[in-house]
Amino acid sequence: MRAYVIRRLLALIPTLFFASVIVFVTVRMIPGDIIDMMIAQNDISANAASRTQLEAALGLDQPMHIQYVRWIGKILFQGDFGSSLWQEQSVIEEILSRLPTTFQLGFMALCVALVVAVPVGVWSAIRQDTWGDYVGRSFSILMLAVPSFWLGTIVMVFPAIWWGWSPEVRFISFWQDPVGNMLQLAIPAVILGTSLSAITMRMTRTMMLEVLRQDYVRTAWAKGMNERTVVVRHALRNALIPVVTLIGLQAPILIGGTVIMEQIFVIPGMGLMLLEAVSRRDYPIITGVFLIVGVAVVLINLLVDLSYGLLDPKVRYR
């Protein structure tokens, strides 16, 4: 197991290298030029001299590969992600101050997804082709079909029209008021969670049906167990192994979802920061956020792989 973990960690190095290159290059390919925007905003007369001056000041005059090496070198050796091109603000500090909120929203959404998906999926499987199964499956198809940004907008708009109620827009920090903070994040978390739960639920159902056909489940019945013990003790764990992988694969969708929810519900997380930075072509912030997200996705998938060990003894003993 120890060797396995080390092998997996080493395998992360090339993955993260390619991720950082892709992040760096694609961000520069966003159409629109920051120099133009700055000149327009600051009303500087756009003569060629001031242009090159500005470019040089921002370090954008160098060839792209030099820029990349400078950027990644600072990150690796100084932990410095640079600072915003518009304000003198450190990118990493800003990210770190916003990361917990995004993480909290994502985590809450994941919890909602699992709390909905696993029981409903299991129930659908053990009551295959009954009313309960049909209701569960219809719900999951509905959730697949309804985009979460649409649902989020509806929740934002209609209660305001009908009852004059709308979600709090002023952000309540967790440290000021934990309960208020959780309640505020609950709505976007539920919306995001239910939409994530759709696929997880179907996967749980399929895997459960598969496992219930296995010989060892028949053995469990033959020992005189009741249905609950058969399902919980003998079937569930084996059915969840592939479901856990699915959660890892859904991590990017989850992060994308939090960006959208932060935008709709005005939550000051990394997503909102990213959107603002993109609209202003603030390259260090965009690349910084993307890199952190990339690292997060890779780490989540590593955690998923390692959690196999807990579920599947064959992995643990390898």
Binding site: Y216, T219, A222, K223, G224, N226, N238, D312, P313
Partner: protein
């Protein structure tokens, strides 16, 4: 004294795409306390379905027990509630399956699975159950048993897994053990070890054994009585000696002809009799064996023979008397 198990008119039907199939059709047999009954027959003859029906483990849908009684210790198992039946399974009747590689749960320790019946039926703590599991594994002669309680099934060989299955079956000292081809999936060398162990342990605990097998060598060596199944029905039943020495039904005689003599018989397999096993969804109106039978008469094509006594508790379902038959001679 009444029998330990008395099965009467058991009928199990499966709904398939090709129509309803009687996998077990009006099957009757009984087992005395401590006795070993072998059920033999070709693949698809309904042996496993019979065993699963006794345990009420037929998957429904597509299967359903449509008729019959299964009297066990004075109660009809088919009439018990689910909870009452759960109290019987694993405690009074235990079952061992054909596939040792897949019959154990890969993500739970062997010890937990072996001790589980004690925890379920005796209300033992897990600690006590695991201790018991250690003893049981020792009894089925798994080397280094105490240390292996915490092992997982993938760390066991096929033979060791089947030993663990036997240990699991013995956990609550059941009155009846049903072993469905317990050695078919194992190496020939391991097969006789496992069967001898099973036989020895049932003798020690006084449990009766229903031994389902393809292998007539096994029948001769381990069974007291035999029921021969064909196309979901019992076509001949009697003591192992009678069946072996004086097989009456042309099907049984055909099976016997494929087997070498008693001495070297162990490990020999049924070589299929000429022709294919029947398609259960298209059985002929008369005797199901008629298309393959060497003794077939006109009567056989019209009506279905029922089990009749040919003397000394030996029954067969065939119209033609054995001594008048032109077919394969019996071992004398």
């Amino acid at each position: 004294m009444s029998k330990l198990l008395e099965v009467t008119g058991l009928t199990t039907r499966f709904r398939t795409e090709r129509g309803a199939v009687m996998a077990v059709d009006d099957v009757s047999f009984d087992v005395d306390a401590g006795e070993t009954l072998a059920i033999v027959g070709e693949s698809g003859s309904g042996k496993s379905v019979t065993a699963l029906s006794l345990m009420r483990l037929i998957p429904n849908p597509p299967g359903e027990i449509t008729a019959g009684t299964v009297m066990f210790e004075g109660r009809d198992l088919l009439k018990l509630s689910d909870a009452e039946m759960q109290a019987v399974r694993g405690d009074r009747i235990a079952m061992i399956f054909q596939e040792p590689m897949t019959s154990l749960n890969p993500s739970l320790t062997v010890g937990l699975q072996v001790g589980e019946p004690v925890q379920l039926h005796r209300g033992a703590t897990w600690k006590a159950a695991l201790e018991k599991a250690g003893e049981l594994l020792m009894r089925v002669r798994i080397p280094d048993a105490k240390a292996r309680v915490d092992a997982y099934p993938h760390q066991f060989s096929g033979g060791m897994r089947q030993r663990a299955m036997i240990a699991m079956a013995l956990a609550c000292q059941p009155k009846l053990i049903i072993a469905d081809e317990p050695t078919t999936a194992l190496d020939v060398t391991v097969q006789s070890q496992i069967l001898s162990l099973l036989k020895e342990l049932t003798r020690e605990t006084g449990a009766a054994l229903i031994l389902i097998t393809h292998d007539l060598g096994v029948v001769a060596r381990y069974a007291d009585r035999v029921s021969v199944m064909y196309a979901g029905r019992v076509v001949e039943t009697g003591t192992a000696r009678d069946i072996y020495k004086r097989p009456q039904h042309p099907y049984t005689r055909g099976l016997m002809a494929c087997v070498p003599r008693l001495d070297g018989a162990l490990g020999s397999r049924l070589v299929p009799i000429e022709g294919q096993p029947p398609d259960l969804s298209r059985l002929p109106p008369g005797c199901a064996f008629a298309p393959r039978c060497v003794d077939v008469t006109d009567k056989c094509l019209l009506s279905r023979p029922v089990l009749e006594d040919v003397g000394g508790g030996h029954h067969k379902a065939c119209f033609v008397p054995a001594n008048a038959a032109a077919g394969v001679p019996a071992h004398a």
